[in-house]
């Protein structure tokens, strides 16, 4: 019986090792680059960080014609941002929240604002973090975007309120208002104290 178990273990071992490898990388990246990216994925998994965004980052680099060094550097930078997000958001943060945190950090949102948000709200922060990143993508300065969202969360505004604010700012920008002016205008329309939390 022991012999059977050993044989089975050796038979399964390569398959188990194969589980750690992403076939998309093997199919589309140079073998050396794929191996370097796999090493990043292993580090991410060991730290309980999501690996799929790292795979997509590598594939994005491949499609955009980046060389191997640049692909690996981009994957590593994203992994480090995810690790920073984990440190700021806590061990209970889910993958979507971690990715939002990493995107926010990479957009220039100061980590102190993320820590403040964490203190203000117990639940998932992925929507407030996404809104911060979106405001930066629309041209609002990172610190201003962070302060605005932080203020709304402190007032007890829920995720739907934040999404609505983003839509209103989008409308204002499309009508020609500068991003910062659009944010200021919409914040001015927000009552100082929000409705009580449900």
């Amino acid at each position: 019986m022991k012999r059977l178990v050993l044989i089975a273990a050796f038979a399964v071992l390569p398959a188990a090792r194969g589980l750690a490898q992403d076939p998309r990388l093997q199919a589309r990246l140079d073998p050396l680059v794929a191996r370097a990216v796999e090493a990043q994925l292993d580090s991410a998994r060991a730290a309980r960080l999501p690996a799929d965004p790292l795979v997509r980052k590598a594939l994005e680099g491949r499609t955009k014609g980046a060389d191997g060094d640049r692909i690996v550097a981009a994957v590593r930078a994203l992994r480090l941002a995810l690790a920073d997000a984990r440190a700021l958001l806590g061990g209970a943060a889910q993958d979507a929240e971690l990715m939002s945190g990493a995107n926010a950090l990479r957009a220039g949102i100061p980590s102190t604002h993320i820590l403040t948000l964490r203190r203000e709200r117990d639940g998932s922060l992925h929507v407030p973090l996404d809104i911060m990143t979106d405001l930066v993508a629309r041209g609002v300065r990172p610190a201003e975007a962070a302060t605005a969202v932080e203020r709304l969360v402190r007032q007890g505004r829920n995720d739907a309120d934040l999404v609505r604010l983003r839509e209103q700012i989008d409308q204002d920008i499309q009508t020609g208002l500068a991003p910062q002016a659009a944010l200021d205008r919409r914040l001015a329309g927000v009552p100082a104290a929000g409705p009580p939390r449900p």
Binding site: R24, E60, R62, A74, A77, A96, D130, T133, D159, V163
Partner: protein
Amino acid sequence: MGDTERLDPLLERAVQALKAPVELDPGLDRRVLTLIGRESAPRVLRFRRRVTWVSALAAAAAVILLVLMNNATAPDSMVRFAIQHPSAQSITIVGDFNDWDPALTPMARSSDGEWKADLELAPGRYHYSYLVNGSTWVADPVRPAIPDSDFDAPTSLLTVQGSSP
């Protein structure tokens, strides 16, 4: 004359002893069966225990799979991608939703020079770009572009709302 008459008395006794029926200890059968049982019963038990564990693991895997399948059935949203580019020969969308594979999502050109594609996307956030004529990267003019310091190519950001806004 029989053979035994010519044998030595000692040998004669030995022959008689060998001819006598052997009486076995009545407890021998029980002792032998017990010894056999000590060897074989644990093996059977161990095998049964392994079968039980394998069954339990298979059942647990089935439950996990069902839960994952349930979670994966969040309703997708149909998203329209469109870009005006009359002079383009081909435009494809590449992004997180198709693993950045330029072959997967070609856009269709309408007579007025607008290129369109409709995609069913699960709730989430996606980075993407348009690839014009297989070589030029263009951000979506109607959605926010994000700086791409990783690869220096225009990239847009799309949020598909799900159950949570």
